[in-house]
C-alpha cells in the first residue's frame, strides 16, 4: 500500500529516459528493456460502465456516444444517481358515483425517480416526470442547435462533393485522349447532363446543387441580446446559478440555471491494453470481464527487475561521507547476479544491443522504419542531476530466486562480508557509503545515482528460426532520493 501513497524515493530510468518508480514501469521480455507509460502505445481494449459493470461492445458504445443507458450522474455534484421508488396513487376518476367502484379503481403503482445521495438533488427538482420502469425511459433531450447544424453539414458536404466533381471534370478534360472514335455526346454536342435530362434520368449533381441552393446563410441583425431590465434591481441567488463545471458537463446544453439541469448519462470507462512501440508485443492485456482486475498479459518491471528500497540513510552533508542502507530484492524465479556500478561506467546503448541478423534488419527496412522512428522521437536523455555518488563494492552479489515459502522463515542469515548487512531468501541488505560533492548547496534535494548490472534469464520460448540465448546481462540506472542536503 505504501507504494500508492508515499513519494517515490527510488526512481528507475526507463529506456526512454523518463524517471519513474518501479511500480509504474513495464518490462518488455522481447526487447529486454524497461518501458514506461510514456514510451509505450496505449490502446482501447473494451468499453464498460464502471457503475453497473456492464460490458458494451465498441460498436454499440460508439452508437450510444460512450454513455451507459441505465446509469446516471448527478448534474449538480457528479456523484452517481440512485433510482428511488415511491408508491403513487393512480386516480382513475371515471366513475365518481359508486362508492365501491372508487375503492377498486384506486390502484397504487410503483413510480421511480432519480436521486443523489450526496447532494440531495432529485429528478423531481427540475420537473422530470417519474417513470414507471426502474431502468431507462428517461426523457432524452435533443441539442437545440442540431437542426441548424445539420443544414450546415448538408451544405458543406454538397460543396465538397461539387468541388470533387469539378476537379474530376478538369482532370478528365486535361487528360482525355481524343481517339479516332467520336462518342455520341461529342458528335451531337450533348453534355452528359443534357443526355441524362433527355433520357429522363435525374441529373447527377442534382442532390448537391439542391442542397446548395436551399441553404440560407445566417442573417445578421442590428439587435443584440440586451441585459434583462431587472439586472440592476434583482437579488442574485447563487444557488440558482450553475457553476462552470456544471455547465460544461453537458456541452450540448450548458444550462446557466439550476432548474435546467438534467441527469447526465454515465460516461463509460475503458480497459486499456499496452504495447511495446519497438517490437509491437503486448505488455499488458486486461481480462475482458469488467469486474475482473486481472490481466491476461502483465509484464510489469516489478516482476522482472531487481527492486531497490532504501532502509535508512544518514543526513547528507556537502563534501562528507554518509552511510546508506539499501535492500535489494530479486523478484524472478531464477538466481540473479547483481553488481553495483557507477552510471557513467555503463556500456553505451548501442553496444548493449545484440547484433541483429540480416533477416531482421531487412525486415525492419521493409517495415518503413515505422517502429524506430516513432520511438526515437520519444527517447531523450535522462536528467539525473545527482550531487552524491554511491561507493559501489566490486563484488558480485548473488540473490536467490523468489521463494514464496521462505517468506515464513524468520531468521535472517548473517553474512560475513563487511557491506552485506543480512540476507534472507531473495532479499539482501547492503551497507554503502555515499560521498557528496563539496559544491552541493545546502537545502537542495540530495540525490544519488546508482547503476545495477544484473543477470536475467529469459523464459520466452525462442523463435524457431533464431535460437535465442536465455541468459542476458542487463543494466538499469536508478536515482535515490536522500532528502535534502543539510547545511
Amino acid at each position: 500500500m505504501a507504494y500508492l501513497t508515499q513519494p517515490d524515493y527510488v526512481k528507475y530510468v526507463c529506456s526512454c529516459g523518463q524517471l519513474k518508480p518501479i511500480t509504474s514501469l513495464y518490462f518488455c521480455r522481447h526487447c529486454l528493456k524497461i518501458r514506461c507509460g510514456f514510451c509505450i502505445c496505449h490502446e482501447v481494449d473494451s468499453h464498460h460502465c464502471a457503475n453497473c459493470l456492464e460490458n458494451m461492445p465498441s460498436s454499440e458504445a460508439r452508437l450510444k456516444k460512450n454513455r451507459c443507458s441505465s446509469c446516471f450522474d448527478c448534474p449538480s455534484c457528479f456523484h452517481t444517481l440512485s433510482t428511488r421508488a415511491t408508491m403513487a396513487a393512480q386516480r382513475q376518476a371515471q366513475d365518481p358515483a359508486g362508492g365501491d367502484a372508487k375503492v377498486e379503481n384506486k390502484q397504487t403503482k410503483k413510480m421511480y425517480y432519480l436521486s443523489c445521495f450526496n447532494c440531495r438533488w432529485t429528478s423531481r427538482d427540475v420537473g422530470i416526470p417519474d417513470q414507471s420502469v426502474a431502468s431507462g425511459g428517461w426523457p432524452e433531450r435533443t441539442n437545440p442547435f442540431l437542426s441548424r447544424y445539420n443544414q450546415l453539414l448538408d451544405y458543406y458536404k454538397a460543396i465538397a462533393q461539387q468541388e470533387k466533381q469539378e476537379k474530376l471534370e478538369r482532370e478528365r478534360k486535361k487528360f482525355a485522349i481524343r481517339g479516332k472514335y467520336i462518342t455520341l455526346t461529342d458528335k451531337t454536342g450533348l453534355t452528359g447532363a443534357m443526355a441524362r435530362n433527355i433520357a429522363g434520368l435525374p441529373t447527377s449533381e442534382s442532390g448537391s446543387s439542391a442542397a446548395i441552393a436551399s441553404f440560407t446563410p445566417s442573417q445578421a441583425s442590428a439587435e443584440v441580446d440586451e441585459l434583462p431590465d431587472d439586472v440592476y434591481t434583482k437579488d442574485v441567488n447563487l444557488k440558482q446559478i450553475t457553476s462552470m463545471s456544471q455547465r460544461l458537463a453537458s456541452p450540448e446544453w450548458q444550462p446557466s440555471s439550476v432548474s435546467r439541469l438534467h441527469p447526465l448519462a454515465k460516461l463509460l470507462s475503458i480497459k486499456r491494453s499496452q504495447r511495446c512501440r519497438v517490437c509491437d508485443h503486448n505488455l499488458t492485456k486486461p481480462e475482458y470481464n469488467p469486474g475482473s482486475i486481472k490481466f491476461k498479459i502483465e509484464l510489469l518491471a516489478y516482476y522482472h527487475v531487481p527492486e531497490v528500497k532504501i532502509i535508512s540513510y544518514e543526513t547528507v552533508k556537502p563534501g562528507e561521507k554518509s552511510a546508506l542502507l539499501l535492500k535489494l530484492t530479486n523478484p524472478t524465479g531464477h538466481e540473479m547476479q547483481i553488481q553495483l556500478m557507477q552510471p557513467e561506467d555503463l556500456p553505451p546503448v548501442e553496444e548493449r544491443e545484440e547484433p541483429k541478423s540480416i533477416e531482421k534488419s531487412l525486415e525492419k527496412s521493409l517495415n518503413l522504419e515505422k517502429d524506430t522512428s516513432s520511438y526515437r522521437a520519444i527517447e531523450r536523455v535522462a536528467e539525473l542531476g545527482s550531487s552524491s555518488r554511491v561507493t559501489a563494492p566490486e563484488a558480485t552479489l548473488t540473490l536467490a530466486q523468489r521463494d514464496d515459502a521462505a517468506e515464513y522463515d524468520d531468521d535472517a542469515q548473517q553474512d560475513t562480508s563487511d557491506f552485506i548487512l543480512w540476507r534472507k531468501s531473495n532479499k539482501l541488505a547492503l551497507r554503502l557509503e555515499v560521498t557528496t560533492d563539496a559544491a552541493a548547496t545546502p537545502g537542495a534535494p540530495a540525490r544519488a545515482a546508482l547503476a545495477l548490472q544484473y543477470s536475467y534469464r529469459n523464459t520466452v520460448p525462442p523463435a524457431p528460426a533464431a535460437p535465442q540465448q536465455a541468459h542476458h546481462t542487463l543494466y538499469t540506472t536508478l536515482l535515490l532520493d536522500l532528502g535534502v542536503v543539510s547545511g
Partner: protein, 383 residues
C-alpha cells in the same frame, strides 16, 4: 475478399476535432453538433502532486510532456477511442506560437501516430458556421481578444488585431475590485474568481459606465454575499459586478480597447469589404457569454464610429450581429466539426508520411508558404 471487408477498408474512421484553448479544451468527433467534452486544459501530474496546465511550460520538452498527458486524458478518459490511424482537425489561432504548433504536430504524429492532421484557423472555422461570404469574427477567449476579417474564405491578415482583453483581464480587475470591497487582500484562487465572475458579473450599458467613471455614480445593482469554504463570506458589491469587465472597454491614447480594435480591423480591410464586414459581425469565445457584453460592444461601436479618428476614415454607420449557431464557447470547434465532416476524404489534411519526410508545417507567417509562385524570390525558396 468479401465486399463488406472492402467497404470496411475504405471507410474512414471518424476524425476528431481538437480545440486546445488556454483555459478549456473542446474535444469531440467531426459530424457531431457538440464536443464530447469541454474540460479544463490541465491534468494531474503525479510527480509534482498538483494539476498542471498545458500552457505552463518552460522548455519544449515540458510542453511535449504536457501535450502527451493532456491528449492521453482526452483520448482515454473522455472520448474513448484509439488515436492511432485516425485523423485530427486541430482548431488553432492564427497567432499560435510556432513552438506550440510544431510540438503538437510532433506529439500527434509520432507519439499518438495519427494518420493526418488538418490545421484549421479558428476565424475561418467560425465563418464557416455562418455561411456568409464576408464576416468579421471577434473572438474573446481566455488571454486575448482577436478580431479577424474573413472575406470569401480568406483571412485579411494585415487587418488581424489582437489585444490581451479577455477573461484574464476581467479576472485581474475582479480580484482588484473584490479586495476593495472587502478591504483586505483576499488572494482568491483563479477558480473562485472565475466562479464569482460566472455567477454574478455582467456588463453594464454605456451610459452607466460613463456615470461610474465621471460621477455621479448610478444606483448600483444588488450586492452578493459569496460564501467561501473555511472562511467568512465575502461581499461582491454591485459596482464590482458591473465594472469587472470594464478593462475591455477602457480607452486610452493607444486606442487599444475592444471596440477600437474592431474598428481598426475594419479600417485596415479593403474599402469594398468594410460595409459587409460591419454588417456581419460574430462575437464568439467563452468570454462572449458574459451577460451584456455583446450589447455593450454594439453600443460602443455605434458611438465610436462617429468619433475621430474613425468618423473621417470610415463611412459605415450600421453594425449588424450574427447569432452564433451554437454556444459561444464552441463556435470554432463546431466549424471544425462541420468542415472536417464535409471534407471526409481529408484532402486538406497533412498526412503522417509527409510530415515524417518534411518535418515542417505550413505557416502563414513563413516565406516558404506565403511567397506567390511568380514572385522573383520564389525560385530561391524552392531550392
Amino acid at each position: 475478399m468479401a465486399l463488406y471487408e472492402g467497404i470496411a477498408l475504405i471507410q474512414e474512421k471518424q476524425a476528431v476535432v481538437l480545440d486546445l484553448g488556454t483555459d478549456y479544451t473542446k474535444f469531440g468527433f467531426t459530424g457531431e453538433a457538440a464536443p464530447r467534452c469541454i474540460i479544463r486544459s490541465e491534468f494531474w501530474c503525479p510527480s509534482e502532486r498538483r494539476y498542471k496546465r498545458v500552457y505552463d511550460y518552460r522548455t519544449p520538452e515540458e510542453l511535449y510532456d504536457n501535450l502527451v498527458n493532456m491528449l492521453h486524458l482526452l483520448y482515454f478518459r473522455h472520448v474513448l477511442v484509439n488515436p492511432k490511424e485516425r485523423k485530427v482537425v486541430v482548431v488553432e489561432s492564427l497567432l499560435t506560437p510556432t513552438l506550440f504548433r510544431e510540438t503538437l504536430a510532433k506529439v500527434l504524429f509520432t507519439h499518438y501516430e495519427v494518420s493526418g492532421v488538418v490545421w484549421a484557423d479558428s476565424p475561418r472555422l467560425c465563418a464557416l458556421t455562418l455561411g456568409t461570404p464576408v464576416s468579421l469574427i471577434v473572438s474573446i477567449g481566455a488571454r486575448e481578444a482577436e478580431v479577424c476579417a474573413v472575406v470569401h474564405a480568406s483571412v485579411v491578415l494585415r487587418a488581424l488585431q489582437s489585444q490581451p482583453l479577455a477573461a484574464r483581464a476581467i479576472h485581474d480587475e475582479l480580484a482588484r475590485l473584490l479586495d476593495e470591497d472587502n478591504n483586505t487582500e483576499l488572494h482568491l484562487s483563479e477558480q473562485i474568481i472565475e466562479d464569482i465572475k460566472v455567477k454574478t458579473c455582467f456588463v453594464g450599458n454605456r451610459e452607466r459606465a460613463q456615470q461610474w467613471a465621471d460621477g455621479p455614480a448610478p444606483t448600483p445593482a444588488k450586492s452578493v454575499q459569496y460564501p467561501l469554504a473555511g472562511r467568512p463570506a465575502i461581499t461582491v458589491s454591485g459596482r464590482t459586478r458591473e465594472l469587472a469587465a470594464e478593462p475591455l472597454f477602457a480607452r486610452d491614447n493607444e486606442l487599444a480597447s475592444l471596440p477600437d480594435i474592431v474598428l481598426q480591423c475594419i479600417m485596415l480591410c479593403p474599402i469594398d469589404a468594410r460595409r459587409a464586414l460591419s454588417e456581419n459581425i460574430l462575437v464568439t469565445g467563452g468570454t462572449a457569454t458574459l451577460p451584456g457584453l455583446k450589447a455593450r460592444l454594439a453600443h460602443e461601436l455605434r458611438y465610436l464610429v462617429t468619433q475621430p479618428p474613425y468618423s473621417d476614415r470610415l463611412c459605415i454607420r450600421e453594425f449588424k450581429f450574427h447569432k452564433s449557431p451554437t454556444h459561444d464557447n464552441t463556435v470554432a470547434w463546431c466549424g471544425g466539426a462541420v468542415g472536417g465532416a464535409a471534407d471526409a476524404g481529408a484532402t486538406r489534411a497533412l498526412p503522417r508520411d509527409v510530415f515524417a519526410r518534411t518535418r515542417r508545417l505550413r505557416d502563414w507567417a513563413c516565406l516558404l508558404d506565403n511567397t506567390p509562385p511568380h514572385h522573383p524570390h520564389r525560385d530561391q525558396l524552392d531550392q
